[in-house]
């Protein structure tokens, strides 16, 4: 089971550190990261493996919401199924 975490907002220090720290706490493994910084806008898409996660999915979503407030950035944490359904036949 995988999830997609997207992060968009003004670039600053500690974005990846804060997010990966939160994921590490729940034993969520980062599989892939792709990021872009355009001017001072930071955009990142992260694939994570949630199959060994120690918490239910909505707890993870809650944690990401807390991180989003802490960093002042927009973070989405969504199950990969939604993207597979919409974009793959």
């Amino acid at each position: 089971m995988r999830a997609v975490i997207t992060v968009v907002g003004k670039d600053r220090t500690g974005i990846i550190a804060t997010i990966s720290d939160a994921l590490y706490k729940f034993n969520v493994n980062i599989l892939d990261i792709s990021q872009n910084v355009m001017d001072d806008m930071f955009a990142m898409v992260m694939f994570v493996d949630i199959s060994k996660s120690t918490v239910e999915f909505d707890k993870l979503t809650n944690a990401m919401e807390a991180v989003s407030i802490e960093l002042g950035m927009k973070i989405h944490c969504m199950h990969e199924d939604i993207f597979n359904a919409m974009h793959r036949i």
């Binding site: 997609v4 997207t6 979503t61 993207f83 359904a85 919409m86 974009h87």
Partner: protein, 454 residues
């Protein structure tokens, strides 16, 4: 390991964040056919018990899916077997206690509407049907979440003019009894031709008699996504516009299919259908009228409106059909006036009149929906409006419906506010010429020749 394309991810998020993409409703259909009692109060209690136990986890499950997938699921709702059939086991002269039991069940389960205070009378009245119709005004006035619908015609059975005559009076009475609330009762009451058994949308949802014991039906939405996609395409021939709509409808429907599959698994209830309707809301950027204008109209309601709507309705179905294992319900484009920001604007501007709206209903799903008319409109005129709309459905082999609000004390130029997703309705002018003689003839208009298919 296959990764999902970043562009696709951002597209999905943009659709949800900026273009109002959502799952409009997860509706659990519950059969009440095993319930019977001589005593209306005992029956009401049995109905309450069954509905609350079957739908106990519906709202929590819906909310959980919402958070996991990151897609808003706006409504969780319940539909039940048409109450006229269940009420008929009693000798009660009013089914209002059943409506109130359903309302309490809605409050307990946390759903925002329960549909099925309904009767199917296309060919005539059986025991219970007349009682149900007579109970509608009080039922809608004394409940918050109960929706009522009456099927008065079908392509197979013809048009029950007696029922249409009665419904004109029922609508007037409902408007009167709920007048302190903008005649709100009428916003929860639909008159149908060719009503479908698996419609997840309110106010017309009921659990049809051929349906399983319980079922999950999903209604998807997304007018804003379609409008944005057409806008991005810029100048292109209309066939390319149709292609864009198909592709967009496909994506939206896949989401509905996914949500329905997950909900059905978790609730242990079979998955019924995805209803891939473009259902507008009063929010800016969530309007079907604005899609028509995006394609190339100065204002919705002008010449060209019907043609574009026909293309839109067809393209939505074509895109959706491949995306779901089972498409059903109404599936097409909804054109409720009060619930669509662009439709409201078109009426205010005088660009959209009742006659054009009627023409539009011939090529899209549903019909004269959430239309407010002056409060002094007679019952016969309302019956005449219903008869016209229902005839369009019967002859064209499709569902049509009327949800009209004769807003007590209001005149053309006034607006009636319903609030929330029901929106606000500018009062539309309607012909005052009387069809009374026709309506009071009663009887049944025979089924059209093309109903004889066997």
């Amino acid at each position: 390991m296959a990764m999902i394309n970043t562009r696709d991810i951002l597209e999905t998020i943009k659709m949800i964040e900026e273009e109002h993409l959502d799952i409009r409703t997860i509706t659990m259909g519950i059969s009440l056919r095993d319930l019977a009692s001589d005593d209306i109060n005992v029956l009401s209690r049995k109905i309450y018990d069954k509905v609350t136990s079957r739908a106990e986890k519906l709202v929590a499950t819906g909310e959980q899916i919402e958070r996991e997938l990151g897609i808003p699921i706006i409504h969780k709702r319940i539909s039940v077997t048409p109450i006229a059939m269940i009420g008929a086991t009693t000798n009660a002269t009013s089914y209002v206690p059943i409506a109130q039991a359903l309302d309490r069940a809605a409050a307990t389960t946390g759903v925002n509407f329960v549909g099925g205070f309904s009767a199917l009378v296309q060919k005539g009245f059986a025991k219970g049907d007349a009682v149900l119709l007579d109970s509608i005004p009080e039922a809608l006035a004394t409940t918050n979440c109960v929706c009522s619908s009456v099927n008065v015609a079908s392509t197979k059975a013809g048009i029950n003019l007696d029922a249409i005559e009665r419904m004109g009076r029922v609508i007037k009475e409902t408007a009167e009894i709920t007048k302190d609330n903008g005649s709100m009762g009428c916003a929860k009451l639909v008159v149908f031709a060719n009503a479908v058994d698996d419609n997840p949308f309110m106010a017309g949802a009921f659990h049809g008699i051929g349906e399983p014991e319980t079922v999950i039906n999903v209604g998807v939405s997304g007018p804003g996504v379609v409008q944005a996609a057409i806008k991005r395409a810029g100048d292109c021939p209309i066939n390319e516009v149709a292609e864009i709509i198909k592709k967009t409808a496909f994506k939206i429907t896949r989401m509905g299919q996914l949500v329905g599959t997950i909900a059905s698994e978790r609730l242990g209830v079979p998955f019924g259908i995805v209803d891939l309707s473009l259902a507008p809301t009063p929010a800016i950027g969530d309007s079907v009228a604005r899609i028509l204008e995006e394609v190339g109209l100065e204002t919705c309601g002008g010449c060209g409106t019907t043609a574009i709507l026909a293309m839109l309705n067809d393209a939505v179905k074509k895109g959706g059909v491949m995306a779901s294992s089972s498409v059903g319900g109404l599936s097409g484009a909804f054109i409720p006036v009060s619930e669509d920001e662009g439709m409201i604007a078109a009426v205010r501007e005088g660009a959209l009149c009742m006659e054009k709206l009627e023409a539009m209903t011939a090529v899209c799903s549903v019909g004269i929906d959430m239309v407010a008319v002056p409060g002094d409109t007679t019952a016969e005129v309302i019956s005449g409006l219903i008869a016209d709309e229902i005839a369009i459905g019967v002859v064209n082999n499709k569902t049509t419906a009327v949800r009209v609000i004769p807003a007590v004390g209001k005149q053309v130029g006034d607006t009636v506010e319903f609030g929330g997703l029901l929106g606000s309705a500018p009062i539309m002018p309607i012909s005052t010429k009387s069809p009374a003689k026709f309506i009071h003839r009663g009887g049944r208009i025979p089924a059209p020749i093309h109903s004889l298919k066997n």
